[in-house]
Each structure stands twice: as structure tokens, then as C-alpha cells.
Amino acid sequence: MLSLMIKRLLVAVPSLIGVVIVTFLLTRALPGDPAAYFAGPAATKEAIEQIRVKLGLEQPLIVQFGRYVQDLAKGDLGHSLTTGQPVAQEIRTRLPASAELTLLGLFVSMLVAVPLGIAAATHPGSLTDHACRVVATAGVSLPVFFTGLILVYVFYYLLGWAPAPLGRLDVFFSPPPQVTGFYLIDSLIAGNLELFWASLKQLFLPALTLAIFSLAPIARMTRASMLAVLASDFVRTARASGLSSTTVIVTYAFRNAMIPVVTTLGMVFSFLLGANVLVEKVFAWPGIGSFAVEALIASDFAPLQGFVLTMAVMYVGLNLMIDILYGLIDPRVRLEA
């Protein structure tokens, strides 16, 4: 097991190196003057020169890269022009908001998608099967920001069930004492049920949007994988041995079918992290996605770079965990290591 984890870690290292190099290049190998980008559109010539010296843009690229890596190691991601705060600090503060949203959305999505896919595969041609296929094809076609807006219109404007899309908490509430940064967990830890419900109400629509978004690929993959496994030789053997259909479906089919689904999760996370940005804009959610969008509008470059880097590093980490999970499920991978 340990050797498997070490192997996977080793594979992740080149990815991390690649990520750092690419984010560096994105800001240095730009058309035009990088100093001007970092100084901002309203900068004077002196300010641009200052930035140029500060970033060492006169130096050869290798030296610049070295300084960049050094800064990263110290946790220095530069400063935001609009707020003047260090980017790393902003990201640290805002990250839990995005994480809470994304994880809740994914959780709800899997809760619905996996059983739906399994039911569709075990009852081909039924209503459930057709429903699953429609969900899969239509769901993949829905732009996530569109879904979010429709949900706002229906549940907030028309029905009044959901609160206004103005962020994590209604104006009257203050956030719970920080433990994890997840309002749902922190409010429970603080024993504040009213706060818990308030947070949940605000989370409801954006999480639902993300859930709908990721429902389609997961349901589609679960259904396809389950169908393939149910048609396989070893399921035929299990049936021919008279095993009950519960045993066949759960112990024999499901576990094998989950393997490709777990590997798909990596792709789903990639989509989710991107969708996060769009959902945060629609719901004015104070996460790192909206941080990046605000920076974009203001042509504030350092936060953007910090954002891309953070997202990528998180994604590499997520993939690593998925790889390890995959190794846990599939002994063929585990034992060959």
C-alpha cells in the first residue's frame, strides 16, 4: 500500500512542476510588457518601472523563474492591486467558501446520480432508464450559469422559497467562529442551529446548480459502466451459480462498475472547479472563483495568477487522492505496485 502511495506521489510531482512552469509562463511570455500587466491599467510610467525592477523583469528568464519559485515557497503570491492585500491571504480566506459549495454540490450529485445510473442499468428499457438517458444527454447540454439563473428565477422570484442570491449568509447573521471555514460544520460545532439553517438556505440554490451540472456525467458513466459489467463473463458465472440478484448486483457488479466511475471523478472535478467560477458569479458567492472574476474585470494580474495556481495545485491533489482511492478498490493496481 505504502509503495503504491509513494508511486502515485512521484507521478504527481511532474504535474506540479508543469503547473508551476505554465503559470510562470502565462505571466512572463505574454504579448506586450508584463510589467504593465502587473502595474495595472491606471499605472504611471514610474510605477511600471518600479514593478519591473521588483519582479526582476530585466533578468534572464531562468533567474526570474528561480525568484518565482522562491516566492512560492515562501507563500508569496504577490499583492492585489484593488485591495492591496497579499493574494495568498485573500485566497486562504475565501477558499473554504468555494470548497463548501463544491463539495456539497458533488455530494448531492453522487447521491442522486449513482443510484439512478444503477437503476437504469438494471432495468433497461424502463421509465428509469429513459429518465436517466434524458438526464444524461440534456444535463450535459445545460450551461451551468443558465441553470443557476433559472433556479434563481423559479425558486426566489416566483416561489419565494429561496433567499436572495447575495452570498453565504443573510445580512442579519454573522459567521460562526472559524474552525474549518465551512459554515455548516462550524455552526454545528458552535451549537447554533439557527445559523446552520441560515447557511444551508443560502447554500441550497448554488449547491443545487452544481449538483445538476455534475449529475449528468456521473449518471451517464455509472449507467454505461454498470451495463458493461452486467454483460461481462464473470457476472454470467455468478448468475449461473445461482447467486441471488442482490449479491450479483451489489457484490459482483457494483464494485467492479465503480472503478471507471471513480476514474471519471477526476474529469468531473475538472469541470466542477471551472463551473464553480461561473456559479460564484451568479450567486455572488465570496469564494476564490469570484475573486478571480473581480480581478479579471479590474485587470488585476497577480490575483489571477494566484488563482490559477491554487486551483491547479488543488486539482493535482484531488487527482492524487482519486488515484489512491482507485488503488484501494482495484487489487490489480495495488498488487502490481
Binding site: 512521484l10 433497461p124 463473463d233 458465472t237 455468478a238 451459480s241 447467486l243 467492479n256
Partner: protein
């Protein structure tokens, strides 16, 4: 006393709903199995033999159903029984083993646990003694170190061992009937024998009835009491094994029997009675009349492959972390220093089981891959040193050609038959103009007995035998001196194989080619080749004239190979009794 049969199938008809309408895979089949008897169902592809057994167990595909007739197992009407009743029968009273044993096992579950599942399901064990019973079963199917192997996953076991596990699964609950659907296809010849003997041994020991489904009449005749022959969904003949093998009565059974390669028959005798191959001028060229200069001389040929593992940076890191020397050598020798020669006009067989290196050898002689060391001399020229990449453009390329094993994947699915045959002509033939090329294609089609109107068809519109002919036509298009045939008939039905083998003999004689015939099937090699080379683990263990090697083998391995071939013996043994009541 007529005992009530264990299984009674009466007028069984099975239908499948397909895109093109309803297809009757099995029609009015009658079959009865008494307790304790072993019955073989023999047929070629499309005969319905597997579908019949699936219907007996009621594990037909969703699209299939029993349309007419009845199936009675013991006193139960299988057709009317509920799914729950059937589930109780399956595994407990009747069980089945399939082809391709590794795929038949759950890849992520320990084999011991899989056996336990069956035991627990049919209440033949409790949680506390299930493990011991599973280990005991593994022992009964002669798996060494059963306690350890209990914890193994299928991918850690060989094909033969996987099949033993599948047998253990099938016999775990002591069923009355075992259905074995092509249990030895895909296994090595020596493994086939041990698996069959294990099956027959265990089933006789427990007085079980067995249905053996196979395409190999010889196999059925060796291990079964009675044989049922099926063709295109119908039963054409049912008789004792001896009767079927020595004096089949139905036309189709006779055709099958004749087409089965076995000792004592010649190539011509494989064909159905009344059919003679297209007349030829020469007969098989006797050894001593041939040209003395060897066409191909292979000397101390070696092919090494690096062992699988981390490459590049990973391997370096691995070496740094490891303490002491590497556990195994870094290379694997697929071919370990072999030498042989082929004379002009000669047909030489290259025989061995999977992994022996025969395919690697033939691919090197073909100059499709490069050797590691040794020499390959063709007609006096050293072709071994020419890199494979450059060989394609040399005129020498024309003189060595190949017929492939799988007719399906050796033809480009987007090329018509004519285009496939024309490919070598277009590149190396030096024939000007489309009409001339077309004319040559038609000439070749005639030579291989391929109807001309099939030339414009795509591979998926041709039968297996027709595809094989296209492959042969393509191989002889450039009039090569040496043709390498890599198991050319392994994927064909036995009756089609008979025709193709005769065709190959004709072509060899008419065109004066030499053959290197690579195969695992000694009986087939005996028909076509004057000399045979036996390989094992990358080395040649024996070689010489075919008759001598096959009748008086010197190497133990050759003896093992010969002994493994199913061998019905009716002259000395008394015929086995049908019912043990």
C-alpha cells in the same frame, strides 16, 4: 430398466429478437441425459450448441426466449419454473463452466471468497466453516497450496489454474449436472488434457451427469459416452461415441468426422466424400527430389525484450532505492538461440505452445521486427542485418510473404477484397494500370477459389473461409518464394479448415513455394509438412521428418505434446455403460 432421464429436452425451439427480426437459433432439439452419463454436443459455429445449454439453465440473453418445446430437469419443468426456483437450481443442482476462465471470475474478489459465496448462497456451509470448505474444494481441483491460493486474485493465476477455480465453483454444491461449454478452448494443449481429465475424474467420482459442448469431435469422442451432433440449430445425429467416431451415419457428421485432422488420414481425405480438390499437376514433392540449396538458413537467432517495469527515470530511482542486486534479469529471451533451415519447395512446420517463441521467430524471419543477435540468410543474402523499417522498400520484400492467423483483423475493414489483394501489387508489383491490376486480382481470386463477385465486398460481408482466401490471395500475389503461415486455420471451422488446407497444398505445388507453417496443432502440421521443428521456451527441443518426430519422438516435451492430443480409444477398452442406476 429405463431410468427416468435427469435431463429431458423435447422439441426445444429458442428464438432471439434481433434488429432483423426473429431468429431461430435452435429448432426442435431433442436431447436426454441419464444420470451419470457424459454426453458431448458437437457442432461448428452457429450450430446452436451453446444456446441449447443456456436454455437448459435458463440464462438466455434478454433477447432470447424458449419459444416451443419443453425442458425437464429431474421433475422440474424448467420452462414454467419461477426465477426463484431456477436460482435454487443453478449452482446447486446444475452448474456450468465456460470458455475463457480468467474472464469468468470476478477480477477484484479473492477466488476463495468467490467459492464461499456459492456455498453460502445455497446453504452448503455456514460462515464459520465456509472458508475451510472453500480451501478443501481448491484442493480437490488439485490446486497446489490451496490455503495460500485462497487469497489469490484471478489475475495472479494462470489460465489453467483459473479454470480449476471455475470447476471448483461449479462443483461446490455437488450438483447433479455439469455443463461444460468449450472448457478447454484457449488453453494450451497440455493444460487442456489435465483440465479435461480433472473434469471427467471429478464428475465420475460423484456420479454426476456431464454435458460437454465442443467443436472438436475428437475431444468429444475421447471423453464422452454419447455424442449429439448439431448443425444450424438442429440435432442431426445422436449415437454412442464409438459409433460417431468410427461409423457416423448422417451426411453432416460424416463431413465433420472426415474433416477432423487425425493420425492416419491424408489431406485429400479431409474433404467431404465426392469432393475432389481442383486438379493439380504435381503431387507432394518427395524429400529427396528437392533442390539441395537451402532457401532460408537461420543460425543462433536470439530475441530479447526488456522486462516490464519502470522505464527511464523511474528505473534509475528504483535502482537507487533497492538494496542489493535486482531480483531478476532485466531482459526476457523470447527466442534463445535457435538454428534451422528450409529448402526450396519444402514445407516445414514450427510447433509449440503459447509463449514458446514460434510467433516471434516467424515475425523475425518475416523481417517485421529486428533480431537481437544471430543471422537470417535468405537465398544467400544476409537479411537479418537489414533493419525492419527499411526492408519494406526492398525488392527482397516480394519474396517473403505471410498468411495471418485472424482473417478478420488482417484485412483493413475499409478496403474491399480486391483492394486488399491489390495492395502488394500496387506497391511492389510493377504492374501498370488499373485494368492490369484488376485482371491480376481476378486471376488470383480464381487460384484461391474465391468467386469473382465477392471481390467488391468488404470484410464484414464475407465469411471466415472467404476472408482466409483473400488473405492467401494477397500473400501469393507477388509470387513469393517463401510463405510463412501463422496458424492460418486456427480461427476457422473444421470443415472450412479442411478445404483451406487442401488449397494451401495445391498452391504450394503449383507455384513451387516453400512454407514455414507455424501452429500449435500437431495433427494439422502432420498433414502439410514434410519436416517439423518443436519449440519450447524459446529453444528447439526436437526437429526432423514429420513422420519420425510424431511416431518416435525423442524429446520428452514432444511426447507430452503428443499425449495431450485427445485420442479416442475404442479398440481395446470396453464401451462405457450408459446408465449407472
Amino acid at each position: 430398466m429405463t431410468a427416468i432421464p435427469l435431463l429431458d429436452v423435447h422439441d426445444l425451439t429458442v428464438e432471439f429478437a434481433t434488429r432483423r427480426g426473429v431468429v431461430r437459433a435452435v429448432q426442435r432439439v431433442n436431447l436426454s441425459i441419464a444420470r451419470g452419463e457424459t454426453v458431448g454436443i458437437v457442432g461448428e459455429s452457429g450450430s446452436g450448441k451453446s444456446v441449447t445449454s443456456y436454455a437448459v439453465m435458463r440464462i438466455l440473453d434478454r433477447a432470447g426466449r424458449i419459444a416451443e418445446g419443453s425442458v425437464r430437469f429431474s421433475s422440474i419443468d424448467v420452462r414454467q419454473a419461477s426465477e426463484d426456483e431456477m436460482r435454487e437450481l443453478r449452482g446447486r443442482e446444475m452448474s456450468m463452466i465456460f470458455q475463457n476462465p480468467r474472464a469468468a471470475l470476478n477480477p477484484i474478489r479473492k477466488v476463495g471468497r468467490q467459492i464461499e459465496d456459492v456455498l453460502l448462497e445455497h446453504v452448503k456451509a455456514t460462515r464459520s466453516d465456509a472458508t475451510e470448505k472453500a480451501i478443501d474444494l481448491l484442493d480437490q481441483v488439485r490446486i497446489a497450496r490451496p490455503r495460500e491460493r485462497y487469497h489469490a486474485y484471478p489475475f495472479e493465476l494462470s489460465g489453467g489454474m483459473c479454470q480449476r477455480v471455475v470447476i471448483a465453483l461449479a462443483l461446490a454444491c455437488q450438483p447433479q449436472l455439469l455443463i461444460a461449454d468449450e472448457p478447454t478452448t484457449g488453453l494450451d494443449v497440455t493444460t487442456q488434457k489435465t483440465v479435461m481429465e480433472l473434469i471427467v475424474g471429478l464428475t465420475h467420482q460423484r456420479s454426476m451427469s456431464t454435458i460437454l459442448i465442443t467443436h472438436d469431435l475428437g475431444l468429444a469422442a475421447t471423453y464422452c459416452d454419447r455424442v449429439v451432433v448439431m448443425e444450424k440449430g438442429h440435432v442431426v445425429e445422436t449415437a454412442s461415441a464409438r459409433a460417431i467416431f468410427t461409423a457416423p451415419s448422417h451426411r453432416y457428421s460424416r463431413k465433420l468426422m472426415r474433416a477432423t485432422p487425425r493420425p492416419g488420414v491424408s489431406l485429400r481425405e479431409l474433404l467431404p466424400e465426392g469432393e475432389t480438390p481442383t486438379p493439380t499437376s504435381a503431387s507432394v514433392t518427395p524429400l529427396n527430389a528437392m533442390d539441395r540449396t537451402p532457401l532460408l538458413v537461420v543460425d543462433k537467432l536470439i530475441k530479447e525484450y526488456p522486462r516490464k517495469g519502470l522505464d527511464g527515470v523511474g528505473a534509475m530511482l528504483g535502482k537507487l532505492v533497492r538494496h542489493g542486486p535486482a531480483p531478476e534479469p532485466d531482459v526476457f529471451r523470447a527466442v534463445d538461440g535457435i538454428s534451422f533451415s528450409i529448402n526450396r519447395g519444402e514445407s516445414v512446420g514450427l510447433v509449440g505452445e503459447s509463449g514458446c517463441g514460434k510467433s516471434t521467430t516467424s515475425t523475425m524471419v518475416m523481417r517485421l521486427i529486428d533480431k537481437t543477435s544471430g543471422s537470417i540468410v535468405f537465398d544467400g543474402e544476409d537479411i537479418g542485418d537489414i533493419p525492419a523499417r527499411s526492408f519494406a522498400r526492398l525488392p527482397l520484400r516480394k519474396r517473403i510473404q505471410m498468411v495471418f492467423q485472424d482473417p478478420t483483423d488482417s484485412l483493413n475493414p475499409r478496403f474491399t477484397a480486391a483492394r486488399a489483394i491489390a495492395d502488394p501489387l500496387l506497391r511492389l508489383g510493377g504492374i501498370p494500370g488499373r485494368d492490369a491490376i484488376r485482371a491480376r486480382c481476378e486471376e488470383l481470386a480464381r487460384q484461391v477459389d474465391l468467386p469473382l463477385d465477392l471481390l467488391d465486398r468488404f470484410p464484414h460481408q464475407l465469411s471466415g473461409g472467404q476472408k482466409a482466401r483473400v488473405g492467401i490471395a494477397r500473400a501469393i500475389a507477388l509470387k513469393p518464394d517463401l510463405v510463412i503461415l501463422d496458424e492460418p486455420t486456427a480461427a476457422l471451422d473444421v470443415s472450412v479448415q479442411a478445404v483451406v488446407l487442401n488449397l494451401l497444398q495445391e498452391l504450394k505445388d503449383t507455384l513451387g513455394m516453400s512454407y514455414l507453417f507455424v501452429s500449435h496443432d500437431l495433427n494439422v502440421v502432420r498433414l502439410l509438412c514434410g519436416r517439423v521443428i518443436v519449440m519450447q521456451a524459446g529453444r528447439i527441443v526436437e526437429h526432423g521428418p514429420t513422420e519420425r518426430v510424431l511416431f518416435a519422438p525423442e524429446a520428452q516435451y514432444t511426447r507430452d505434446l503428443l499425449a495431450a492430443i485427445p485420442h479416442p480409444k475404442f479398440d481395446d477398452e470396453p464401451a462405457r455403460m450408459v446408465a449407472h442406476s
